[in-house]
């Protein structure tokens, strides 16, 4: 049975670039993975620090936006996707990867692309979803974001919600099966997340058998 030995974490933010909890939790999860003996690679966005480094045993690839003009978050996200895919594919072709863990919808398209082309199991993590964040949830912009969130969740083996509210919205608004959703915190002990990821790798292999 295939084991989880190498993980690729895709996150829109990672220290020192910190906009909110996603950065802190992506860091915390990556450290927990390394502590558990899992070879961990992080691909993240940081326009000011592009390049590859190894930090606390974690290989970190920071990509920059290929387009300098910012139009909207919903155009920026698809435009950054090929860069996430480029940096990630280099890692996958190099040391190999057993599972892709993506944080939030902004890295979801990259994760789906990598999962399909390289036949990798995909786990996505949501701290919140669009209908929780945006009071104008019926606006086309908000609905476009919700569409991508739903598509990523549907394509994932497992959907991690960091709180019960988000899990409820994923289930009720996006129609994600309860069996696929797990609720767990990502800011401390990540033992349960690692167990879920291990299970996803085994399930993926089982589905392919």
């Amino acid at each position: 049975m295939k084991a989880l030995k190498k993980i690729l974490v895709l996150t829109p933010e990672y220290p020192p670039r910190m906009l909110g909890d996603v950065s802190i939790n992506a860091h915390s999860v990556s450290k927990g993975m390394v502590k558990d003996g899992i070879l961990t690679s992080v691909v993240t966005f940081d326009d000011w620090r592009p390049g590859e480094t190894v930090e606390e045993g974690i290989r970190v690839s920071r990509i920059a936006s290929p387009i300098r003009t910012f139009y909207s978050i919903l155009t920026w996200t698809p435009l950054i996707t090929p860069e996430f895919v480029r940096a990630s594919s280099k890692i996958i072709r190099g040391e190999g990867v057993d599972l892709v863990l993506s944080f939030e919808w902004t890295t979801g398209m990259s994760a789906m692309t990598l999962g399909t082309i390289h036949d990798l199991p995909l786990v996505c993590a949501y701290h919140s979803v669009e209908c929780q964040r945006n009071p104008f949830r019926d606006s086309p912009l908000s609905q476009g974001i919700a569409y991508l969130e739903r598509e990523v969740a549907k394509a994932s083996e497992l959907v991690v919600a960091t709180n019960e509210d988000t899990a409820k919205f994923l289930r009720d608004e996006y129609g994600i099966s309860v069996a696929k959703i797990v609720v767990t915190r990502l800011d401390g002990d990540v033992g349960s997340l690692i167990s879920f990821c291990r299970q996803a790798v085994e399930d993926h292999e089982g589905a392919n058998a």
Partner: protein, 387 residues
């Protein structure tokens, strides 16, 4: 060899000349290459179909709500990317070929995910279409075009004018750019007998017909043609001007023809079927292509193949297609008086129209056949494959 082509237009979904280009090119290439086209869905069109050897995959691109066209285009890319991934995951592909900035993001992501080489055809540029870059919206498109030329191993441009434009705008090394012209099917576009019921629909029997076919957008210069109409009517009162096509300038053009007092002589048809366009080419006395910016000018080639004499702006690709005084008449762009003079000359001289009609068809059938274009494209594909 197996290629994956990405295009946002493919018949029956047609916005400009791109749909016809991709349709004809993929069909001709399919005789040499296993060809898969990934494109947008369209009401009534099949999700998967074989068209003359090419396999066409239509992805659902209308599920995601979008506040504007640029956002829609980005989300459309997400859908094409997913469809392309599912196809490429099956394996066996050698390269990706994408058409224009509208599918750049999907093409570049597929290149990096699969490790396949990417080639791109740049049919026109935002800077050319807009006479420079003036807004952030235009700048995003301009930057995507530049990014695509950087990521692609080869760039295809359809005229030397476009080669210079792309090389200059994006600092692309010239040896990376291949000039491969657009083509025309000489069987589809050929001289035909006048369709009398169709003629009667648009003009009196005594009226001569001057035709325009294309999008109604500023860079096509339809306003310049309308500006020439009073000068043409002064010499040839019995002339009808048929303007075929749609676009956001339509209302402005309609107002212009009213303000010049020529609206009774101008017929805006809106969008018409391909068959009707062919019929109109068969019955028109001449076609005017008054473009201000024209990377190639496929409608000019279609008119030439149909044996319809042309008056074309001496700009971009049109300059390279038309041999002045031999296969048509060239006029300076943005010059209504010059158009009026050239149209009057042709309308007055039936023998000249006849000579130009024959010469034009001969030129269209040689250099611009889809077979010749597919041969060149296959050579270009070969050049990016690993040795």
């Amino acid at each position: 060899m197996k290629a994956l082509m990405l295009s946002w237009e493919y018949p029956p979904r047609k916005v400009g000349g791109l749909a016809t280009h991709v349709y004809e090119l993929s069909k001709a290439l399919a005789e040499r290459v296993e060809m898969h086209v990934v494109t947008c869905n369209f009401p009534g069109a099949l999700e998967l179909e074989r068209v003359g050897g090419a396999i066409v995959h239509r992805a659902n691109v209308y599920s995601a709500p979008s506040p504007d066209f640029l956002t829609w285009a980005m989300l459309m890319n997400a859908s094409l990317l997913r469809a392309g991934c599912e196809l490429a995951a099956g394996g066996g592909f050698d390269m990706i070929h994408c058409h224009d900035w509208l599918v750049a993001q999907a093409g570049i992501a597929l290149k990096h995910a699969t490790g396949m080489p990417l080639v791109a055809t740049i049919h026109s540029t935002e800077s050319g279409r807009r006479h420079g870059i003036h807004t952030d919206y235009q700048r995003v498109i301009h930057e995507i075009e530049g990014w695509l030329t950087y990521e692609a191993s080869r760039i295809v441009c359809c005229s030397w004018s476009m080669v210079n434009e792309v090389a200059g705008l994006f600092n692309v090394p010239r040896d990376k750019i291949w000039m491969i012209p657009n083509g025309v099917d000489p069987e589809t576009y050929r001289p035909s007998a006048i369709d009398q019921p169709l003629r009667d629909k648009y003009a009196d029997p005594s009226e001569k017909i001057v035709l325009y076919v294309g999008r109604l957008v500023p860079e096509k210069g339809v306003n310049v043609l309308i500006g020439a109409i009073p000068g043409i009517l002064a010499a040839h009162q019995n002339t009808k001007f048929i303007i075929v096509g749609e676009g956001y300038s339509r209302e402005m053009l309609s107002s212009l023809s009213k303000s010049l007092g020529v609206d009774r002589k101008v017929f805006f048809t809106g969008y018409v079927s391909d068959d009707e366009v062919k019929g109109l080419l068969g019955l028109a006395d001449l076609q005017v292509i008054p473009s201000i910016y024209e990377p190639f000018g496929i409608v000019c080639l279609e008119a030439m193949a149909s044996g319809t004499p042309v008056v074309a702006s001496d700009t971009g690709g049109l300059s390279e297609i038309v041999e002045d005084g031999v296969t048509g008449l060239k006029v300076p762009s943005n010059d209504s008086d010059a158009i009026a003079h050239a149209v009057n000359r042709l309308l007055s001289d039936g023998a000249l129209r006849g000579r130009m009609s024959k010469m034009a068809r001969g030129r269209a059938m040689g250099r611009f056949s889809w077979k010749a274009i597919a041969d060149l494209t296959t050579r270009m594909y070969d050049s990016v494959l690993p040795r």
